[in-house]
Amino acid sequence: MTGSARLRVGVPGVLLDAAVAAGAALVSYRLRFDAEDAVHFLSAGRLAVAMVVVAQVAVGIGVGLYRHRGQVMWPVRLVGAALVGMALGVVAAFGLGAGEGVSRQAMASQAALFALGGAMWRSVVGLRVRQQRRRELVEQFGGADLVVQGEDLASMTGGLMRVWGYRHLLRNLVAKDLQIKYRRSVLGFAWSILIPLVMIGVYSVAFTYVMAMGTPRFVLYLLIGILTWNFFAGAVGGATEAVAGAGSLLKSVVFPRAVLPLAVVLFHLAQYLLTIAVFLPVMLLFYRVPPSPVMLLFPVFLLLQVLFIMGLALGLSAATALFRDVRHLVDVAISVLFWATPIVYEMSRVPEQAQFLALLSPAAPFIRAYQDIFYYGVAPDLSIWVVAVAYALGGFVCGLSVFLAYEGRFSEMV
């Protein structure tokens, strides 16, 4: 599929990326500051923003992001252009004496959102290109009753429909994992309760007595973060191996490969829901948290979180099949991100300048939303909504399209 993964970008791509970069900067400034401050900082930093946008596109041109050939590695080029371009733009702005309006957090967020936005339109365009090529191939070769083998591959809805056709496999795989996890153990499901209980106990002692953080109702606070984190880390860590570890299956049976990482995600989702269903009511009763209408937002954020995790699982499992380093990167990232996410500490303890940056940590918008809903009893604010929705949609679209683009090669790569 190497050949068909190429995009025809060029000048429209440059313009589109420039628009995405500028939009990302506007959104970032608005999220970082209040409406009034944002206007103030933006007008002071307009030269810096312009420099960053130009530098990102220029670096993109330099590394061949808009060339017609060799678009297989576009994710690496794109992220490189976003980060290097942002850094060069900021340096250039300081050099021109326009460093006043530069907000480091807003710029970091601009680079992240630019990469996400760029990846999203490339994913969609890339799939359309592939679909078009397949259609041409079918028209060229296929007769009325003969079709090109594998013709249905590589369209996003087609990919999802094929997974739906194999929903019984998905269900059996999840059931198998649950069954194997608890069989032959005396305590069975109790282990799923005991392990987070021990973690919460250790962190409670450490942070309440040893480090004297003095967060009220600390156990409830910890519980929300740790259970959600365990879901995130378990699902992403497990799904990373899902394709690379299924060698003989991939080489001997045809089925939609996306079933493999999705089954891992659903397995961890089932565990998460079971533990939440046990712990949360107990905690809410214990701390006498009154039921409130904001709790109805829980399923909304849960859906966004599941979409995001599915996207990550699809993307990372495909990436691991192609490069084995990815699993080590994921392991390291997971252990670093645990401390970069407000789980054992409150967001208010993060220096104010870094709070918005902390929200960009992958599990953070969702954990913050659940903390707002159950612990603080308020509706999540705009920045949490924006980041959660961007992650969910961007992550799912990018992850699925990367997966579908390389699906045909897995049988040769593992």
Partner: protein
């Protein structure tokens, strides 16, 4: 002329052999800048310009020495690998079943029953469809009293029997088989052959990769001989097997057979 189910025209498949291949990001990123330092990989053409037409109800044996590309051809037809060039067409909506490896997706911790459901769903069957064939599968495998036992307590022969029982009841229109019943004992092999004969009697189409001249002679009416990724013979079984026999006798020598 009877209905075409599979049509391959000038199908080639190239694999890339990576010497000391370690797929790492570092190597790829260096490769972005330094074209010269890109990984050394060698192209290996597993198949070259294969033409093949299979019509409904045919039983075709694919024979050839190790590495001749017969399994690769089967996997291309199944849709597991994609051809590098050429066109490979299959009938719209034809259900193509594969028996390339038995019992893939079996989990030793699960019972025989659960494994039947899991294995059949890998092939795309719904729960209801498995319910419908379940009793027949159990009967065929002769393992009724072990159905609730985890299959790690099965002997390897029992596992193969169970796996083949599932595969035999999937009932696809086209069955692609890669030498799988070399593993069982003689009665089991006979049973497999009877089952395949039964499928052919029902008008199913079978493509069969094997080294065993007797199995091919019993099942197939037509034989394709592959050598170094190219088709060197396509025709009646007896002549095809004779050609294959000559070829293996003159080990290594390029042999030309006359179709």
């Amino acid at each position: 002329m009877s209905e075409t189910l599979i049509l391959a025209e000038r199908v080639s498949k190239r694999f890339q052999l990576h010497h000391n291949y370690a797929p790492s990001i570092k190597a790829r990123v260096i490769g972005l800048v330094h074209r010269r330092q890109r990984q050394v990989s060698e192209d290996y053409w597993a198949l070259r310009d294969i033409d093949l037409r299979v019509t409904r109800g045919e039983s075709v044996g694919l024979v050839g020495r190790n590495g001749s590309g017969k399994s690769t051809l089967l996997k291309l037809i199944a849709g597991i690998h994609r051809p590098t060039s050429g066109r490979l067409l299959v009938q719209r909506g034809a259900r193509i079943g594969t028996m390339i490896e038995l019992g893939v997706g079996f989990n030793v911790e699960l019972s025989g029953r659960d494994n039947v459901y899991l294995n059949a769903s890998v092939y795309g069957l719904t729960r209801r469809e498995v319910d419908a064939i379940f009793d027949a599968v159990v009967d065929y495998s002769e393992l009724a009293q072990f159905m609730d036992e985890p299959i790690k307590n099965y002997s390897s022969g029992m596992i193969v029997r169970l796996a083949f029982a599932v595969a035999a009841h999937l009932d696809p229109e086209v069955l692609l088989l890669d030498e799988i019943f070399a593993v069982g004992d003689a009665p089991f092999q006979d049973k497999c052959k009877r089952t395949m004969q039964g499928l052919l009697d029902k008008g199913r189409t079978v493509l069969f990769v094997s080294h065993s001249a007797t199995s091919v002679a019993q099942i197939c009416r037509r034989v394709c001989v592959l050598s170094h990724g190219q088709k060197v013979f396509d025709g009646p079984t007896a002549e095809g097997l004779a050609c294959y026999h000559d070829m293996t006798a003159e080990a290594g020598a390029q042999h030309t057979c006359v179709s």
